[in-house]
């Protein structure tokens, strides 16, 4: 388990991370989401012991970063932002070097596993600077998992890749998430939505939301919007709201040929769709379309990071 306790980091006058408290359980895939400069990378850099916290502490199992940084670093595999690599080395030399530092017992055997997992067949003897960006990213991930760490931290693992490469790397991340505690950071929503079972939204150095994608969505709004398209007499449409309990007719308009477009809202707790359908059936109207308007995580994200950011 990783536990961040009142974690704070100042860069001179600027407070990048502001008293963050967070517990990450074993096996969890956690996505850290936030606009650029929100403090995601700084938080990750403190977990990986690159920075020391200005205040607070981080506990990993029984160790903490202030006293046992070396033990913690042994447990973590880390892909820093922008995937720094020794470009002049070959993939093999690079992984061998990292494996020596990480004290990998059976390098040859482990290398085979990592090559399979990261799909590095055919590039192993090439210099890193001749590889495509997608392959470089795989090398960066291979480096992070070569010692089979319990915890894997990937800082913006898909930034700068093309859509195909992004899909490949996401698949790889999902695969790795099955066996490890995984923390990834991103400013892209689909990314964390695609791979993470828990999302933490950070803004201005503070956690502004924490939960699964669905929880975050339902937190932001507890009403469901329903769009209807039906053929009905315009003057009778308001009966819908009067006869069906606990729904509200927000708006309606006649788009021609007696086709009415209406928007209805009701509380999340109960599903009113059946009642609405029954009412329409009893009036013998024709229902052309009925769908719920989903709140996207984009809305949640924009809402939280703009409102609370105050800009």
């Amino acid at each position: 388990m990783i536990k961040l306790q009142d974690l704070t980091k100042d860069y001179g006058e600027l407070r990048a991370v502001d008293h963050i408290n967070l517990e990450i359980h074993d096996g969890e895939i956690l996505g850290m989401l936030g606009p650029n400069g929100a403090g995601k990378s700084t938080t990750l850099k403190m977990i990986t012991c690159y920075f020391e916290p200005t205040e607070g502490n981080i506990f990993v199992d029984n160790y903490n970063v202030l006293d046992n940084s070396r033990e913690i670093r042994k447990m973590i595999g880390y892909l820093p932002e922008n995937n720094p690599l020794y470009l002049e080395m070959t993939v093999y030399d690079y992984l061998e070097y990292v494996a020596e530092i990480r004290e990998v017992a059976d390098f040859k055997h482990r290398l085979k596993e990592v090559i399979d997992k990261c799909g590095l067949h055919g590039v192993i003897s090439k210099p890193i600077n001749t590889l495509s960006k997608g392959y470089k990213q795989r090398v960066g991930i291979a480096q992070a998992i070569i010692h089979n760490p319990k915890i894997l931290i990937l800082d913006e693992p898909t930034s700068g890749l093309d859509p195909n490469q992004i899909m490949e790397i996401r698949e790889l991340i999902k695969e790795l998430g099955k066996e490890k505690t995984l923390i990834i950071s991103s400013h892209i929503l689909q990314e964390v939505q695609a791979v993470c079972d828990r999302i933490v939204i950070i803004n201005k150095g503070k956690i502004v939301a924490d939960g699964s994608a669905d929880e975050l969505k339902s937190n932001i709004q507890n009403k469901t919007k329903l769009s209807l398209e039906l053929i009905a007499p315009e003057n009778e449409i308001s009966e819908l709201a009067e006869k069906v309990a606990e729904i509200e007719l927000l708006s309606y308009e006649n788009v021609g040929n007696n086709v009415i477009k209406a928007v209805i809202e009701y509380d999340n707790k109960q599903d009113k769709r059946a009642d609405i359908y029954q009412f329409i059936k009893s009036k013998d109207w024709t229902l052309l379309e009925m769908h719920r308007e989903f709140i996207s995580l984009e809305d949640v994200f924009r809402n939280l990071t703009i409102e609370e950011g105050g800009e």
């Binding site: 012991c49 670093r73 042994k74 880390y78 690599l85 020794y86 070097y97 530092i101």
Partner: protein
């Protein structure tokens, strides 16, 4: 020592897999060879004195050149973040890089033993003691300058800046011994002690004096410590 040697091995590999090692070794041997050979033929003198005199001058340019990238490049490409989040100490990083630079210089000196064997064949009354001490002095000097180079490299992420900083520190230590005329009398002692030339000339006379050895060792320790502090400073900046 284990982690230190992994870092050292990696740096040596990168010296010899890139042109760096050869760009150091070839001119080093060409220039020192010229200064060895000309008195040999012109004055019929078979000794290593002018070789021992020229090598410190060659160091002024070439040691900053081989050390400028050791830290600055890692900072520039961001690999420093990988390196420092591996489970190794900052001191092991600095020491590994230091030994790599010293070994490259030692390889250069090893090749120059060719001149020594030439002397053995041609010369009479060879003072083996002073030659040994001369080589020891050059090795110490190379180590001091490497430590300075690594320190300069740890200050910046720009290799050119690192080169210029170490060049000026080394140049100062070197030149201060030649400029004692311009220095007020009561400071002469201090400046003489600072100058590497003073300690080097003692050594090349064939005397291993602990005071000179302490001078070299303390400069090495000082600049390596400073490099470690500079590397650690990221944590609490």
């Amino acid at each position: 020592m284990n982690y230190t040697s992994v870092i050292m091995k990696k740096e040596l590999k990168s010296y010899f897999k890139t042109p760096t090692a050869y760009i150091f070794l070839v001119p080093f041997l060409l220039i020192s060879g010229w200064f060895f050979a000309s008195p040999l033929f012109v004055n019929n003198e078979a000794d290593l004195r002018s070789f021992f005199n020229i090598v410190p001058w060659i160091y002024i340019i070439f040691v900053p050149a081989i050390t400028m990238g050791l830290m600055a490049k890692e900072k520039n490409t961001g690999t420093i973040e990988l390196l420092t989040t591996f489970p190794i100490k900052d001191s092991e990083i600095v020491m590994g890089k230091f030994w790599a630079a010293v070994i490259l210089i030692a390889v250069g000196l090893l090749f120059s033993l060719f001149y020594f064997f030439t002397i053995v064949i041609l010369g009479k009354n060879i003072d083996y003691g002073s030659i040994f001490c001369g080589y020891l002095g050059l090795l110490f000097l190379g180590a001091v300058y490497s430590a300075i180079g690594i320190f300069a490299s740890s200050l910046t992420n720009n290799q050119i800046v690192a080169f210029i900083i170490s060049f000026f520190i080394i140049f100062f230590l070197h030149i201060v011994g030649y400029s004692l005329f311009f220095i007020p009398g009561f400071l002469v002692g201090i400046f003489q002690y600072i100058s590497v030339g003073y300690h080097l000339s003692n050594l090349s006379r064939g005397v291993i004096d602990t005071r000179n050895v302490i001078y070299f060792l303390s400069l090495i320790v000082l600049f390596l410590k400073l490099s470690m502090v500079s590397l650690q400073s990221r944590r609490w900046r």
